[in-house]
Symmetry: C2
Amino acid sequence: MSDDDQELGITESKSHNTGEWYAEVVQKAGLADYGPEGMSGFIVTRPRAYAVWERLQGFLDAKFKDTGVQNAYFPLFIPESYLEREKDIVEGFDPEVAWVTEAGNKELEERLAVRPTSESIITPYISQWVRSHRDLPLRVNQWCSVVRWEATETKPFFRTKEFLWQEGHTAHATAEGAWEETMTRLDQYASVYEDLLAMPVLKGQKPDHDKFPGAETTTTVEALMPDGKSVQAGTSHHLGQSFAEAFDITFSDEDEEERLAHTTSWGLSWRALGALIMTHSDEQGLVLPPGVAPEQVVVVPIWQEDTKDEVLEYAEGVVDDLDDAGIRVELDDRDERNPGFKFNEHELNGVPVRIEIGPHEVEDGELTLVHRPDGESVVEDRDGVAETVRDHFDEVYAKLYADAEETLDGEVREADDRADILGTLGQHGGYVKAPWCGDEECEEPIKEPMAAEIVMVPFDDEDPLADGDHDESCAICDDDAERTAYFAKSY
Amino acid sequence: MSDDDQELGITESKSHNTGEWYAEVVQKAGLADYGPEGMSGFIVTRPRAYAVWERLQGFLDAKFKDTGVQNAYFPLFIPESYLEREKDIVEGFDPEVAWVTEAGNKELEERLAVRPTSESIITPYISQWVRSHRDLPLRVNQWCSVVRWEATETKPFFRTKEFLWQEGHTAHATAEGAWEETMTRLDQYASVYEDLLAMPVLKGQKPDHDKFPGAETTTTVEALMPDGKSVQAGTSHHLGQSFAEAFDITFSDEDEEERLAHTTSWGLSWRALGALIMTHSDEQGLVLPPGVAPEQVVVVPIWQEDTKDEVLEYAEGVVDDLDDAGIRVELDDRDERNPGFKFNEHELNGVPVRIEIGPHEVEDGELTLVHRPDGESVVEDRDGVAETVRDHFDEVYAKLYADAEETLDGEVREADDRADILGTLGQHGGYVKAPWCGDEECEEPIKEPMAAEIVMVPFDDEDPLADGDHDESCAICDDDAERTAYFAKSY
């Protein structure tokens, strides 16, 4: 909606000033605005970004429903006494809680936490709903916002005091059932990134000292950003029996014995939007895979006065065909803008495929298709346009995925002592794999000088160091190595 | 999930103890639970109710998108100073606001309101986004929850301190544009009730003394409940220029003049779920129109040991056919329950169509379909089951609508003096139409003894009293009547 050509350009360099470049793309592509004065850390999610979130929601929610999850909605507030019932939760989140203390012109008797996560209010209800083994597994999910009052610099979709997410909570009769659930959700998160957002991810678990408060195991999908940092892109927690014990989830088993349930929780936030924008976008602006783009195709007719009618009529026919096929298409027939401006604007806004139609295309019964981001231009027949466009969507997706995969593959390096880890991280960023004894103390010598940490440890069955049958020693302390640690800087 | 047949029954009478009956249906059909201790007024929306809300969302959201609305998301909190910028808003909502005063272990410098409605935070952003007449109309909507700390008794979906809703906010170049928008949304709300929820509604406007704070006109859809009370079931506000002025929404028009915009806002909440449950449900439990039922069909096979295999195979084939056709179907093949228990349970849970399959049905290539709520039972051919079932959905919807319409038609009565209004309301409930001068004072003599009020006034072009060309006088004060007022008790 700007009146100035120059405002369309991204001026910051993606490779040199990644943070500034990101902020500029977010603002100029109309993805988010910053919160009002007095509310730093909050953002306004504008329609273009929200539409991407809705597509992600639709994709993930369908997977949830296909695998036995039901949506529900729990209160926004959690009484302080509830938050205190699981000690790890209260210790983990207390410093970040926003408290409601006055309401209806009165001071409240008990402070109410604006939910930072909902285990403490959902688990007591699960406890009421579960009586017999027949009620298990029980799976509920809610799409909502949560508030965590972190005092760091705001970065839209990455670091905000309020964020949108989904949180799933389940109860199971056995530890195995809970573990299977944990992995099902992790795989679904990986699919969001890989199949929808064209981003390869690493799957693994957090080191024990970085688990979710109260969890037995926290599993994670990690995505590599262009500045060499890792993003925790979705987490799925095997909570063991700590919440079941704190909130008394018991059930009578087939043998009539009363048993304690095993629970999980798992969440994916709008950080996925941030990671998406970061990964594919460029110095022309936003880049989106066709599956989540609010507008998948823009048709730009190019005319002179004497060719206007025929070009426009032809373009409208193309738009109708695409629209009938369920493709999200827009006709840009604005009179007051020239084609060059329009191209720039649609590139800025991340439209994956542009169709240019001029008198030549009309004459030859053809179309010129241009891909975002690489500008590849292909002439195709007008006939069968919907199918043709779908093929181009597949090509655009494949290009984005291949680029991201190539980057990721090149950014996993190995090291076997402290100097090597620090040197490799300092020079390249990315992930550095190193043998690790498993002690939190051995993260410190990396974390302290470099602000890098162990973002992931592969699962047992994918880690040759996990079976103990090797001679590797910890890259830091030289004790026996028990796991492979992935060190990285992180968001 | 209960182990006791008796728990399935609704014990309260819908006609005699409507409130208690409603609470019992909500609880026994698994629609909602009450909030935890210390949080009276809050509810937990359980999966069955949330699934209905999702269908309603899908229906309405598609209409919004077809008519130019984009979804977005704005912060949960509103700084106190923002809330104060539109004086009517702050006066209207201040007593009901929940305040965040502490966060991140610190006292906040400025209190933050948990949004009671979002005009005060959305309008300043609309102001930033609108520069030229080309940016208008601008329409954003959000699906979220809001908090209003009302001290009344909790009634799930009707009176809760937090509720789910959507709130749409638009800006227009002209008053006519804003008025058209107001009516478009009101018509869409009416369609939710009539076309999806099988509930006829009345459309009109609120009397001036009961408008939304700051609004020029508040339009409403009103639904009649079985206890004779009216529910304000959705409202759409023509805000005139008060918000545009308070938050400075100006635009440069085609003639380059700077002008002030005209705005609207409109909201529909989960009260629609409450009205739905109230209207159609009965003493067997929940009744749902097929369009919103989470399970539209349940197939109950009825077997003896020697017929089990063939009956079950036949039933599974029927389920597959329905599932393939996109019908939401469940097979109830539980061994541990008898058919009578299953029938009661699915009736309680509001499944619109039950298919019973026993050895006779298998032999004859037939099915027995049973409608909820009236228990009508019809034998149909097995072939073409999906189409047959869809026809029965239409029949069930038509029955529900016709019943509700007949009730509504019989519950609009006329009166022309105070005693008559009070007598008619006292004897019958429902709506009483009476000529009215337009003064708030003339509502008092009805409101004071009876807790009834003017819930609606027909639009000008539908009210013969609005043109001044008549001899009617106000039923209360005997001055000239200017409008027809609909008096009713209300939720």
